[in-house]
Amino acid sequence: MDYWSFLNIEPTSDTNAIKKAYAVLLKENKPDENPAGFAQLHQAYKYCLKEAKYYSETSEDTAIEEAPNLTLNLKKRAALVNYSLVEDAQTNYSSQNNDQPTQDLSDTGLGDEELSDKKVSSETGEAYVIQDYYREPNDSNEQCLENEEKVSGVDGLGTKELVDEEVSNDKPCVIKDHYRESDDNSEKSLESQENIDYLSAEELNHYRQVLINSAEQAFVEMQQNDNVEAWKFIEHCDALYDLTFKDSYADYVFEQWLSFLEDSQIDAHSRLNSLHYLDYIFDWSGQITDYEIYHGEDKVKPIFDALLEKEIIQARSLKWFVEPRHTGPIEYAGYYKRLGATSIDILLFYIVLNSFFAGQPFKDTIWIFLGVFIVVNAILEASPLQGSLGQVLFDFKVASPKGRRLNIFHALWRQLVYTASTLGFKFTIWINFLINDGRMLHDRLSLSVVIKR
């Protein structure tokens, strides 16, 4: 189906036209009145918006198309930068250095002209991203300060475009008005709360240097041990409130980690605390696909594998809390592992009881053995442990089919049925083998399940 004609418009790159057409049709296909119609309409709308974006991008900038394998990441990054020079520089850079993203800036396709224009010093070449982003606030800073009175709501970090746009729309003034209103509404002291600091050019330069130096220092520390404190400086850096800048710094730190791990041959697992902390700050694992596409899946694997493993450990340890009901999927325990668990139980009981009743004839002890076995195991299964010792060792638990812990009578009944069916071993083993769906005969008869924790 042609989505454009569905919306009653010609293909266009004008998103506003699409939105208008969508809005008109939406009134007849409200989501709660006509869900099916809405779903169709929304699909058309999303498709057209995507097309429109593609049109405008291809007409404005063909460079992105030339590096298709980088499209996703670049588009995303480009969307974050509203400064065309940076975008071009990055596009050129990346498209010509697919294989070596961390290569020194002086080797990239950037012309000298552009370089000098942006006053990028080549000595800290790896930090290209930061420098790019850092430059723009410096440029616009004076203008921003000039406009200080008018746009007091806008921080000095604002780019030139932002400031212009804001002034022309009178946005900050509107916001200010709201503020006054709220002041009148006895919401005092709001005024005094708005002390957004302006960052001067020197301060910005200072921040850039501090961040790069601090990262270097942190890596020196990382050579020795996994000290999270080494990275705490990130929390205290005001410049990182700028999301664009923070993202670029995140990329920078990530690249540094890649080369650090490669150079030092240190296992990422041994620096897990630091990596996890940085992931928490920068949300690397949330953008895993972008990093995989940009750096190559194999290259980033050590870091993400380590980060993911941490997740597993957390998930596993959680399972050891006593839960009133089993949460999570019900997975039946395997036959052979259960056999192992039972063998351990029997062995343990045998050893303990044998030492108590050493001299007694076998015929007497077997009954004591059975009685103790039934009672103790029933108690264990009804306890918060929810399993005999063998079962606990194998990470199983006994529960009702609904996942609840058994009560003591239910557990006793289960043990009796178990003993009975074990006595008819020759017969029951075939039943168990034939049914073989994870539930054994005594599980069925006693209405219980043995599941993985």
Binding site: N16, K19, K20, Y22, A23, L26, K27, P31, D32, P35, F38, A39, H42, K46, K76, A79, L80, G153, V154, D155, L157, G158, L162, E165, N169, P172, I175, K176, H178, Y179, E181, S182, E187, S189, Q193, E194, N195, I196, E235, Y241, D242, L243, T244, D247, Y280, D283, G286, L308, E311, I312, Q314, A315, R316, R325, T327, G328, P329, I330, K402, G403
Partner: protein, 566 residues
């Protein structure tokens, strides 16, 4: 037929209706717009709700419960008097009280409601909220996400062509971030993110811990009453900090050594881990929607905790502008629910307004992880509805058998963003039988449908036999059965409530008792005398005398409260 809009909050609740083209807030029996979400029981077994109960938190900590919304959808039980209550039942009590207030205000019976939930509430928590509504005798017409409700209030009169708002909702117990676009009467939610366990209460708790540490105390050294008292003092200190740069807490506990001063800087330093956690969801939302802070035309603050200076300065640093909060952040959600109620009533003024919302988390199933040879990763999560998909939506995916001669496929239903199912939230399971065949031959079609209320339905069709299985997600471990609901309803119906008309006087007594608990020496004696005098007047039941005594009492209490802690 009036539909009541209800904001069922962690700390406070409020309700509103759509009247003559605008949301109208409904005052409660004490003529206040906010009803604290606190439930208590008195010595005669009667249920007390709202402000009266809030005062009793300190004087009767064991008979009063607050902040139970955090445990919605969990197995947590609270003991109140002689009975155990689930969070659902407690919420139902609050809803019932709001419903009564609205009925008294409007003079008509109300049977339908729109209730707000945090955007990040999962399926189980949403179901629980719906059940609470049912228990209170309200048919829940719609569950609306809190930030979306707030956005509607701000966006209703938005005339500009295309604008984007970001809504930051920091309530008592939850934090939600939502990005909304407005154009031509359409309010489109783009992305939502949040933290279900981060709110104003956490900030207070951090301060309380610090206070104890600075005074060489631990929570165990104090009685329950003292702990509650300390909590409320610190909480009001936190509130006071929005108006003044320095707050000094003195004589709050008998065991307190020195005056404890709390400056804004100190607060910010103590709260920095929480402030870091606030940044995460904001960044995630912007990243998901591929939007920069510059694209956003207004930053809207919702929820009482957004009054914190530390929060505001964080937001202005991130967005480089002043956030707007000119509509009372405590009431804006209730107003939004009223707008949604108006939409539901098909009100003429809202004819051209359409709201579309998103599903804030990914929903999917599990698939076999072939790389997992050691068995320590477990199955992989296979998202079917990706996060931030516009709802209602219905998405189909095909799955095939993983093993030869497999006779059954079990479809685990999960919610979350992790690659491994183990780290995601389990919602339920559905089993279908398939004919025996080689691995990968038999296929099933799984359809996830997510409706406007944020509730999920799963359909599975076996392709070869055409057999279908349907499941509305009811979490195996948490949902109440029909029988449970009936039992709860009966239990709640048996409860006695305080008569509405005497509420004001009871509140005065509760307030005086709270002061009594926290006062020391002479003042304590004075208060004790006051309370018994007042209760004596109440017993005589002379309406005129009571009015006079009550007004005198409240004057005295006002004066006492003023110079109590700060």
């Amino acid at each position: 037929m009036t539909i009541l809009g209800i904001d069922l909050g962690t700390t406070n609740s409020a309700c509103a209706i759509w009247r003559s083209g605008e949301p109208t807030l409904i005052p409660n029996r004490l003529d206040k717009l906010l009803t604290p979400s606190v439930v208590g029981v008195d010595h005669s077994g009667e249920i007390i709700i709202g402000e009266t109960a809030k005062y009793r938190l300190i004087s009767h900590p064991k008979q009063t419960i607050s902040v139970f919304k955090r445990f919605m959808g969990s197995q947590q039980l609270y003991r109140l008097g002689k009975k155990d209550f689930s969070p659902v039942e407690l919420s139902a009590l609050i809803l019932k009280s709001l419903k009564e207030d609205a009925e008294a205000f409007l003079g008509e019976t109300i049977t339908q409601a729109v209730i707000s939930v945090p955007a990040y509430f999962n399926d189980v928590q949403r179901k629980a909220t719906q059940q609470a509504g049912e228990l209170a005798g309200l048919k829940v017409e719609r569950l609306i996400n809190e930030p979306t409700a707030a956005a509607m209030v701000y966006g209703l009169h938005e005339s500009e062509d295309t604008t984007q708002f970001i809504i930051l909702d920091l309530g008592g117990g939850t934090f939600d971030v939502t990005l909304v676009e407005f154009f031509a009467g359409v309010m489109e939610v783009h992305a939502s993110s949040g933290d279900n366990f981060l709110g104003g209460e956490d900030f207070t708790r951090i301060l309380v811990e610090q206070f104890l540490q600075d005074n060489d105390l631990t929570a165990g050294d104090l009685t329950t009453g003292e702990n509650q008292h300390l909590y409320s003092v610190i909480n009001s200190a936190k509130h006071a900090l929005t108006a003044q740069p320095l707050v000094v807490v003195e004589n709050c506990l008998a065991k307190q050594k020195d005056n404890w001063s709390l400056s804004r800087e100190y607060f910010e330093q103590l709260a920095s881990p929480l402030l870091m956690r606030i940044r995460g969801p904001i960044e995630k939302t912007l990243r998901d929607a591929q939007v920069t802070p510059q694209d956003i035309s207004q930053v809207v603050l919702v929820g009482g905790a957004t009054r914190m200076q530390a929060f505001r300065s964080l937001v202005s640093k991130m967005f480089r502008r002043m956030p707007s909060g000119h509509i009372d952040p405590d009431l804006v959600v209730a107003m939004g629910t009223a707008i949604q109620a108006g939409l539901k009533e098909k009100s003429a003024e809202l004819k051209d307004v359409v709201l579309t919302d998103v599903c804030p988390y990914s929903l999917g199933t599990e698939i076999v992880n072939h790389n997992d040879t050691k068995g320590n990763q477990g199955n992989l999560f296979f998202p079917i509805i990706e996060r931030n998909t516009t709802v209602p939506c219905s998405i189909e995916r095909s799955l095939v058998t993983a093993a030869d001669n497999q006779t059954e496929i079990s479809i685990g239903i999960y919610q979350g963003e992790s690659r491994l199912v183990k780290s995601n939230i389990y919602l339920g399971q559905l089993d279908v039988k398939v004919p025996k065949a080689k691995a990968g031959v038999e296929s099933i079609t799984v359809r996830y449908s997510y409706d406007m209320n944020g509730l999920l339905e799963v359909d599975v069709k076996v392709d070869s036999t055409g057999k279908t299985v349907h499941k509305t997600i009811v979490n195996s471990s948490d949902a109440l059965s029909e029988k449970d609901i009936l039992a709860s309803k009966k239990k709640l119906d048996q409860l006695k409530f305080h008569p509405r008309d005497s509420e004001e006087n009871r509140r005065l007594v509760a307030r005086a008792e709270r002061l009594y608990e926290s006062a020391l020496e002479e003042r304590r004696e004075e208060l004790g005398r006051l309370i018994s005098e007042f209760e004596a007047v109440l017993e005589k039941q002379h309406a005129k005398d009571i009015t006079i005594a009550a007004s005198r009492m409240s004057e005295i209490l006002d004066a006492l409260e003023k110079d109590s802690f700060f």
